[in-house]
Symmetry: D2
Subunit: 343 residues, 4 copies
């Protein structure tokens, strides 16, 4: 914390601030400047609440310095985490591709998609049994029946199942039937749910909230980890901005930022990130080029009949084209990173 | 739904669209224009999913027309709803003032605040027993002990208690101890929780999510109402934008928009909406002037010692000054609305 | 400037930073903390460029402390500026109302509007002769002919003319015919134009850019003032956000922020700020309640025939209703400010 | 334009709308629906102003359908434009790399950078002689002296010069000394300047405004083209959002959107788009992977001594590493596009 005094702050006002800092058990460092005095604070273990100072007479500003996270930080664990999901991993050298339909609808639909995913060489299958829908009148997912179909996909196609839970009952079910519990963007700051999945033994795919800053996103991961579950995979899925040519704005610069600050893997979701079929492949390529550890992609054997989000689902052919392209780009980026790591 | 064809769409492509519309059981209305054809759709009861059309050959755009909400709409209920909360109401002629500390900390702190609130003439008391905090290491609230203190406030000061629940266990407790269940901004699209409070018998104060559009906000209310609980009070508490001079950006134009579309009351929260002590009073005045049905305000007997959000809490004196000012403005606005309603 | 070192920064890396600070002629203040070292910088007259430090080895962050403005600051001039515009003022005790059509179209249209404005008691008339339009194919204004009509309005109705200039030729003409040069939101960072109006002798109404932060807005004013023209009136006219129920989002919290930091007056524009007829009056009331020094309002004798922005223009009756309401609210706020100032 | 009536609109109110449509010379198409009537409008050549209808009794909404641009559209010119800039091109099969310092400072600085750019194989050199700076007290560029240095770079290194003009005098000078006139983000809606460069004979690099929608961006290009200069290159340089881990948020989905709607080339600027040295390379890779026609990159022989934007400038080594990486990715994307184009 740095306290910046107003130019006309009196010595008494400065003194009051010093007193409070010491009263809180911290150590003040006074820096008299040409036009104003600043006071640094050390000795604090975590973040200091600016509220102690902001409204005091003579104080112009109280600026946070210490970052509020611990377990996600590379300061704590410098090497990158590789998360085991079923019989595969996310965060290592291999690009993780998670593909499947938005919602589980029928056995036929799911199996056609799963066949295409398995054939491509991807190791993960997605599909929603519980669907967070903006309207209460929209299709809400097939629930446990949907999860049973997904479990069959694992048995039959050898794919690891990533699927969303929206509440505690859902978490219990996904823990039973799936391999990775997805927490959706709208629940990124559902702190009770974050703590609950923090007490499970399955890895968690945590999607960034529509208006989450980097710090908030990382602290949501910290919530999960602070309960003992360290297997968190982050996912950028587009943020809400004024731009209206896509459903959301993909914020790819968060990928290098996450890699710089944390040891956690991060994947990107160009399907929700754009909401437009024709943008999914270009943004998937961009996501891999920027350095993401994987992709999550919506596909559907027949997008125009999808019960949800059909506008963004790729056909099975479009998916296999995407798969080839991102693998080629990953090969280029992988080589370069190797070189960079050696340098 | 309106389907806009590309200028070079072939008759076959137009035909395919017409076919699909009829196949879905709707009625197409072809409008050949100078440069392109548009096709209107009628006969649908709810919203039509644009995904059926967006990626078809020859289609330029699929534009939504029908609004997706029902129960919140003034089309359904033209007169304004007045919601009973304990022994008072929100949504009628009287301005509803809800005041109290961010978090319940101690009996002394709560009772000092409650005394000031009761003395001012306000009818509602706020105070958090469960606190949604960005960091898992921040103070998380006193839980049921805090709720017991709030229940004492009702008994002793005759104030109606508005307090937040973050999960189902919390809802059960708030239902027992409080008068109005607050759903926080971060849970505005926690659809499981919305349905759960939709099955309680207590009124719900629903805060707008940080990046919620008007439609999403109204559909969150629709979630609660679709389960049978019609007593929903909306609350604007600031949205997330690029602006950095306040913690959030208060979007006061949502107040007339809500009043135009719905029969529900809406209040505003200038404490979270600005996050700055010196802005709370001006924005509270603005909220009343724009036509809000009430205010929710954070106060603290000693803001610099608050365990959370002290930077925005008003002192008890600042609160009583605010109270006088907003009452005077409400008197002016109230007279004018009367005149307008008569005209 | 505060330099925050990484927890694992070596003494050499800290030394390098100290060296550079001294090399730049500033004074470093080292603050060793529990987990990391921070280094304050004093002795600088203006802002220090963080680029000197951000990419140095061992540096985690470089945080700006000093504000980059001078002339607009209350540190320089504690009392509020009252700006003379023609024969009236903006920034004093009286609420300044500027009303008129978006664009000057015909003598009849302008004179009907001007009559209503004069009759209401307002002192300022607006009307665009040069119109910044998103499309090159939209009506671009009547140019000098339009300005001549505005000059007649001054002669005939005694109103002071506020009108926009988009380039240097326009500034020369507005300086000749008008009383106040408006710089539109899209030109808020047209620095060449800001300097040019800084060399005129007419007051400048500077509208906030659609995505301007408070600092950028104030520095735009600083551009004008740094050339010698101190008569700047700021104007909040809505910012661009994700919210889609209004054309822009009015950011009223900027009014107290401007009053706290600067001595300049600030008015609000609820017409462009909302873009919706039915929202103009409520947001005008809110603008006055929040403490703005005035309003700028679009009116039109026949809005549905307006050549631009008809959707937001008030009819003459709606305008006179608004005028009464905001005067009543201003009376309330004015009294309260007096009380507050005395306290 | 589609007019949506309220459910309770009377036949008279519908009749009034029909009348106005016919009065404007357009053709109405009535579509009676289950709960409300919609009225399509055809026969209009350009966009119809919703203001004619929005405030009429019985009207719920007026929805725009026709896009307001012409010359930029692929409807007009289906094949992609390849723009000649000096002795090279932008928009064809080759990836265009524009590199150089933010600002022209000294001959040495510029020549060191130019040598590295020429050696890499890039064909374009950037460098600012006129700098749009947020503060009037920041370095404003070397003006014509700077342009002379840039002209020497062309002579000596055979690079084509891209440099910014901020006003008409600047345009005249850049036209004389440079090969491509850059219009900065802050001037994207400086319509007078857009028209002025529309009357020059040099190609224009048009940067997207910080809060420009796709439509506004394309209409800014349309402004230039409507004056007769068809050589416009678009540039995505990051938009303003709430995200605070980078200086701006790069909106890469605009690249496929631009390619779908227009025949113009679009490049991306990861230097301004991120403002952080360590993000430039990853986002440059992403920009090429998403399909951009080129990149514009800030480099500096000694970034920590740069007079502006040093925090984002690459060193010459970092630049040459970036160059290799993006060429490799472009080779992959190029092959794939070929395949896609054949399919």
């Amino acid at each position: 914390m740095l306290i910046v005094m107003k130019p006309d702050a009196t010595p008494d006002e400065v003194g009051r601030v010093l007193e409070i800092i010491e009263h809180l058990g911290f150590r003040p460092h006074t820096m008299p400047g040409a036009s104003r005095t600043a006071i640094g604070i050390t000795g604090n273990r975590g973040a200091v609440d600016p509220a102690h100072f902001e409204n005091l007479p003579g104080v112009a500003d109280a600026i946070r310095v210490t970052k509020p996270y611990k377990l996600i930080s590379r300061d704590l664990r410098p090497e990158r985490s590789v998360i085991k999901v079923g019989n595969a991993t996310i965060g290592g050298d291999e690009l993780a591709i998670i593909a499947g339909p938005c919602a589980v609808e029928t056995v036929d639909q799911v199996f056609s998609a799963a066949e295409a995913v398995a054939k491509s060489g991807a190791r993960f299958f997605r599909g929603g049994a519980f669907k967070p829908r903006t309207s209460p009148y929209a299709f809400q997912g097939k629930g446990e029946d949907g999860l049973r179909i997904l479990a069959e996909v694992r048995d039959r196609f050898g794919l690891n199942i990533v699927t969303e839970a929206m509440d505690e009952r859902g978490v219990d079910l996904v823990e039973r039937y799936g391999d990775c519990i997805q927490i959706g963007a709208r629940n990124m700051q559902n702190f009770s749910l974050l703590k609950y999945v923090g007490r499970t033994r399955k890895p968690v795919l945590l999607k960034r909230g529509l208006s989450a800053t980097l710090d908030e996103f990382l602290l949501a991961a910290e919530y999960v980890m602070s309960e003992g579950n360290y297997d968190v995979i982050l996912c950028e899925r587009g943020i809400r901005t004024f731009a209206d040519h896509a459903r959301n704005t993909m914020d790819l610069s968060i990928v290098p930022a996450v890699h710089r600050l944390t040891h956690l893997p991060i994947i990107v979701d160009p399907s929700h990130g754009t909401g437009r079929n024709y943008m999914v492949n270009p943004l998937a390529r961009a996501g891999v080029a920027v350095g993401a550890d994987g992709l999550i992609i919506e596909i559907h054997p027949c997008p125009e009949e999808a019960l949800c989000d059909g506008a963004q689902a790729l056909t099975l052919e479009q998916y296999s084209e995407l798969y080839e392209q991102v693998k080629a780009i990953h090969a280029v980026v992988g080589e370069q990173s190797l070189v960079a790591a050696e340098a």
